[in-house]
Symmetry: C2
Subunit: 134 residues, 2 copies
């Protein structure tokens, strides 16, 4: 989706009890907002679906490692888990560039993180996008 | 505003060329979204006003030190400057709890930060709110 809109192709879904309750893809350019990362849009939709801002029983899946903004948003939303694909050495805030949600940060909420799921496929999508723009 | 809505009273404005182009106050509870921090709402309004996601010539003023999500959002928005009031020892991401925008983080955008402006007044607002809830 994002790929065809000249957006960096990143997609996210929020799942609870096996049901997708929020989805989003990066729309920074078309939405004219640096806040429109896939994770933010998926979280927003999920909280609307739940009718509350806490998402303890939900898991967010995203193709690319979240940045600092999104990592903060995941924590604030009290999301239960995070599963991501490719690592982001430049902006990744979940272990690559910084480790914003690490247990030793001592935040008031712990997000369970699984990384590297479909990492090659996710990275290939991004490579395809960036090579097509050169 | 936020104070009367049982929200933690935090307010933010984005200013460019002496004109307020975005404003927001915390609506996490009423908006049922952990993403509804004052800064996020003000940034969103400002980018809509500008019609682009970059806010290089703008400054965001906020009564409380931004959290990690908001610090990330400020950087992503390429905001020129940040002026905040009270420090937040628990969640402050601009020097108190963490220093997410510090020059030595090596991010691709530098936000000029001034802290402590009307800090006592800002802190008094928060104290009033939290004591009224006990």
């Amino acid at each position: 989706m994002a790929l065809h809109e000249q957006e960096v192709p990143v997609g996210a879904v929020v799942v609870r009890d096996g049901i997708v309750i929020g989805r989003g893809h990066n729309t920074v350019e078309t939405g004219e907002s640096a806040l429109n990362h896939a994770e933010m849009l998926a979280l927003r939709e999920a909280t609307q679906a739940v009718g509350a801002w806490r998402l303890n029983d939900a898991v967010l899946y995203v193709t690319l490692e979240p940045c600092m903004m999104c990592a903060g948003a995941l924590m604030l939303s009290r999301i239960g888990g995070l599963v991501f694909g490719a690592r982001d050495p430049k902006f990744g805030a979940c272990g690559s560039r910084i480790d914003a949600l690490a247990p030793d940060m001592g935040w008031n909420h712990r997000v369970n993180i699984i990384s590297g799921v479909l990492a090659d496929e996710s990275a290939a999508l991004l490579r395809e996008f960036f090579s097509s723009r050169r």
